[in-house]
Symmetry: D3
Subunit: 272 residues, 6 copies
Amino acid sequence: MTKPRFDTLLLTGAAGRLGTELRRGLAPLCKTLRVADVTPMTDLRPNEEAVTYDLADQEATMAACEGVEAIVHFGGAPLERPWEDILNANIRGSYHIYEGARKHGVGRVIYASSVHAIGYHRVEDNIDANAPHRPDSLYGLSKCFVEDLGRLYWDKFGIETVDLRIFSSFPEFTDRRMLWSMLTFDDCIRLVEASLTAPRVAHSIVFGTSANKHRMVDNRLAGHIGFHPQDSTEEFRAEVEARLTAANPHDKAVEYLGGWFVNLGHPDDEGK
Amino acid sequence: MTKPRFDTLLLTGAAGRLGTELRRGLAPLCKTLRVADVTPMTDLRPNEEAVTYDLADQEATMAACEGVEAIVHFGGAPLERPWEDILNANIRGSYHIYEGARKHGVGRVIYASSVHAIGYHRVEDNIDANAPHRPDSLYGLSKCFVEDLGRLYWDKFGIETVDLRIFSSFPEFTDRRMLWSMLTFDDCIRLVEASLTAPRVAHSIVFGTSANKHRMVDNRLAGHIGFHPQDSTEEFRAEVEARLTAANPHDKAVEYLGGWFVNLGHPDDEGK
Amino acid sequence: MTKPRFDTLLLTGAAGRLGTELRRGLAPLCKTLRVADVTPMTDLRPNEEAVTYDLADQEATMAACEGVEAIVHFGGAPLERPWEDILNANIRGSYHIYEGARKHGVGRVIYASSVHAIGYHRVEDNIDANAPHRPDSLYGLSKCFVEDLGRLYWDKFGIETVDLRIFSSFPEFTDRRMLWSMLTFDDCIRLVEASLTAPRVAHSIVFGTSANKHRMVDNRLAGHIGFHPQDSTEEFRAEVEARLTAANPHDKAVEYLGGWFVNLGHPDDEGK
Amino acid sequence: MTKPRFDTLLLTGAAGRLGTELRRGLAPLCKTLRVADVTPMTDLRPNEEAVTYDLADQEATMAACEGVEAIVHFGGAPLERPWEDILNANIRGSYHIYEGARKHGVGRVIYASSVHAIGYHRVEDNIDANAPHRPDSLYGLSKCFVEDLGRLYWDKFGIETVDLRIFSSFPEFTDRRMLWSMLTFDDCIRLVEASLTAPRVAHSIVFGTSANKHRMVDNRLAGHIGFHPQDSTEEFRAEVEARLTAANPHDKAVEYLGGWFVNLGHPDDEGK
Amino acid sequence: MTKPRFDTLLLTGAAGRLGTELRRGLAPLCKTLRVADVTPMTDLRPNEEAVTYDLADQEATMAACEGVEAIVHFGGAPLERPWEDILNANIRGSYHIYEGARKHGVGRVIYASSVHAIGYHRVEDNIDANAPHRPDSLYGLSKCFVEDLGRLYWDKFGIETVDLRIFSSFPEFTDRRMLWSMLTFDDCIRLVEASLTAPRVAHSIVFGTSANKHRMVDNRLAGHIGFHPQDSTEEFRAEVEARLTAANPHDKAVEYLGGWFVNLGHPDDEGK
Amino acid sequence: MTKPRFDTLLLTGAAGRLGTELRRGLAPLCKTLRVADVTPMTDLRPNEEAVTYDLADQEATMAACEGVEAIVHFGGAPLERPWEDILNANIRGSYHIYEGARKHGVGRVIYASSVHAIGYHRVEDNIDANAPHRPDSLYGLSKCFVEDLGRLYWDKFGIETVDLRIFSSFPEFTDRRMLWSMLTFDDCIRLVEASLTAPRVAHSIVFGTSANKHRMVDNRLAGHIGFHPQDSTEEFRAEVEARLTAANPHDKAVEYLGGWFVNLGHPDDEGK
């Protein structure tokens, strides 16, 4: 049996949907997995240690970075939220993570960015990672911010980052779009593992979908990451198409990569 | 058994070489396949209905578009012909198809364009679909025209188009070039089906070859179409190379994507 | 005094708006200016010879190309027209011109293409001549066709072409857009002269505007043509802005290069 | 005398270095110039009205946007500052401005972005506006954020933005780099005026330097803005080179567009 | 059994590491394999004929090209050497080969170029064959020279070339980098065979690695060569990672494609 | 009077056509101009010191680099010559120069490269400095070599280089092509001065022509050099066109940037 590659990894958002999956996936890679979330976790595995704090708490967030080799940063608001929430959880929270990395000499950050950082590009444009930011929401805007933050910390402080632009990673298909946008949990784990173990990542952006039939984006600039998805949604197509209505190619939610996010109103208007 | 995705599809050029293959391939996709050609067809399958007209006849061509959800437009002159033929069958005929689509609210056109729209690009240039038109014949010029026509009808009238730049789709190998240019009939059917069923195509261009050893063009801009050829010519290589003479890399027919079309004289000169 | 560079030039559309200006401009360049139009011209200058025919008449059109060194092809429908008119005057007519050039060994064609060949590109995209065709009208579509026709006759028959994508060349400002799109008559003459006299043009595309304040397209691929506009609309700005209403940046006629052409309906619908 | 183009413009940061110059420059363009700053202003011109508030105050910032046609947003921290200052003045403050624009139907925002949004690109790379963000400081990072914020408000809410990436706009030369990076105050006014009056800007990025001898960036994607700098630093070269030491081409401050900002440490480390 | 495609092939460097492998691989392709090296070879196979000479000997080198259809040029110094050695073996020697090809009408040269011609590009840049030369050594510089030499002989004399930019092709893993850079001997033979038999190669550049997990370069411009590697280093990963130390992503030897070559000093300094 | 910017500059090829002009141009820039040539020079100006040696003499060439701040390397064969001459004067000679620069800590080399390094690009392609090498002669091939040599010495040893791709710099017009390719002597001096004094050049390539009417190449990647040609050939057009025959646009010497060099045979064939 090979020994784990890392001594200690930090996983933020560990109690969330993807965080829960990643706990399973990262276990073999490290001696200690430090799992962090604002929600306390009690079901710890033998090699896990838990820390509980709000990402908006700079001191606690930075302290959790001590003694770790790499950070898998999946914490923060996972979808569109009012500005104050996005500001605190995603913008301020990620700043605290990078400051923690800087203070404690962490070498690499794997960040759960999102398709929503580029949600206003059209599917037929087949963009690659050189395409400019076009966020589709405050959520997406915060992802753009953290990508640029990682860029700065690479250029100036030498901390490596891989920004994973995850498309859809859910347990169920609730939209036909997921037939092309889905990243299965297993492929998500493969993506994080590849990002952690690639020989050099500098500051890189990788699109995260499984090897689905329709590929709306082109990962040609991420060959050095070594991500090879193994799953496909094709086996679910018949069931999903039978259950869910076909979308109109003229709907913005079909036209743009961001899907239904582009049709969301402004989150601060809700309840007004 | 899943129900067909479409109620009615129109297939033009249905009595031609590829049309005949497509009748087989499209049958499972629709309740009714309206098969059109200037040549009457009598061997109709149960779910087929035939219409017979010349594409140069605007009224008849437009009438045939009524009540269809999508048009698979493979009609017209299939190779180099004198100008008057190209003008009537391909230029005027395709205009009539698009006018029919506009009048009758057809949402999508799948058009049999051709490598001959870009026949004067070199094989070693590995072009993608952004490369400009470089027709190699009046035939190729008419394909360029229809691609631009589809672009206009998308930008102005919202009718989607996929232009299939088919390289070679024949029952026999008559030229070593076909070892790289061949699109098998089964892959041709896959290509049309993918184009009909992709969630959004806007105005797209796809190169149509099988997954052959030599890939002279790059389909990276067609990921959203979801075309995955399953065939390869490799199994025929030994037989073909034994039977047909190797070509000279300095021959224009080897240099350019268009093959022997680039060596054709002007079709209006024939017989003079 | 230097002797004229050319023996005989052919100018089509010579009785039209731009043709009339070009008669003045081309006079010093040739011993004989053959002026052609469907409308008879009687005010001939000493070095002019007139021919009268319809471009749809292949025989007459081809005959007029005999003995000329270069053709300045400004004939045809100058704006949106029903399909039959566009087909005859622009598509068939230009084919006849190129066939005349081929038959009679004419070396170079200067063609009055138009912004409407690329009218559906956005002004903020600052496209160059590599951008694909995006016609905004049947008129624009015919310009795309003739550009591709010229490409074929260059690649296959060695006839050089410069496609002049003229934006607006009118005696009066009738739209604020003309402040950026105008090509003054003098600059139009400079453009044609440069295209006729450049040492080698192969098949080239040049955007035709004066040196106006706002430059929505980039002529970087036309350096070999040597076109240097000398005029600017800036001196007319105050008067034009006082007289004509400002346009809304969200109007399609402001958004797209093609201006009000993008808002035109289909010309074949008129009167229905 | 022509009447002003705008009824009311809002200028933020009006008491700052560039704000003071812009008050002079914007006066002829509008009936009323609403000048805003956290510092009270008492030297108001006849057509000026003053509002005093902190950009971190969302209510006051949004209220100041009422009744204006366009916003010239030059407020916020003008150089590197600790994170909390950058967060409040630049990130939160600019969010408040865009929310004010959205609430009150303001059509266009002209934003004082900065070279520091792209400070880690090398001078010899001659980048254009398609180059990705590479901030050189928290200050630059906040500029990246606001550029993306403007992109979102354009794509989703239709508010136009021009991001002015100003290089150096100071009254004195304090660094030889300014010989290439300087934007004179008069050219800065020209840049803002062009951005306010261009027929359509959508979401655009313009580099802001005068027409200096060395041009480290390429404004080819901003032709539609119509910015034509009139000044050059060349007349000051002899004096500046005599007074200030030549820099080493291997210094990072010479290598990168951001100049001495790339050599700054982290602002939160100061005093520790 | 199919007859060999070629009558006579010339293999230079036939006694070297890769030459020895290629003797095995090329045997089935030709009736006679002329094996050349400065070291005499005695273990000749039945269809081999040996010639022994130094590439610096113009007369002998040219003579060996007589009567061959294609040259597989793997001779010369295979790694960094003092300038005089590089000059004689690689620069002068390759000039003699191309002169031999020109004199004796050889149609195609397959040249063992190297990653070291582009060794100063970064792994995260995922370059393709359009990226400019960035040699990392005198050895790499000589590879650049021969690539340009082949370009000249193609453009001017019509001799085809494929430049194989071989990354690492060794019997053992001596560096973790080889996990991504290795080209197995069998894939090397596939690469040479594909280059010899592609219908047209003009002047082409192909990157030579196996189908390893991490792909630092993009072979998209070599589709016409038809190279499909079949091997991967993944099966050796566990053993190699256990045996060899992980490299630091900040080391130049990890940062740049050229690996440890970028850390070499100047070879002429040795012994001084 | 300003003091000279440099203490000592080395000018190679000082007795040649351009060297003679540069002696005049460089005089004001340095206290001492070391003028080197294989031909002895006796007409020394007060601030000149002469050294006489053959570039093929490594020791002498390196010795001449001692104590200089920058090298203006215009020595070597100035046109097509047999291989042995090119090898010795241009390839070996330039290697000696760069070794001299490395040994003696010279910071910058300005190299007289040539259009002939890219002579096989077509004039209508309007290439920029990213276009790959396409030499048109052994002379051009040697220029490619030295460009790559300078790239290596920049990447590895930190010596800056500007490669000046001079088109034509002659006292007389002997070919109509010179109307677009000419770099006047005064503009040549401006080009060298700009290259010497730009704040940072790294490894850069600049095209060298005057501001002529036809611009076949695009200097957009050289903005950081600050070269602004002041001359134009337009004033000589009438005389030159009257005297020299117009060229055929189908001639290779007109088609390609390299002019008549592309029509040269192989120099080693002469006299055979």
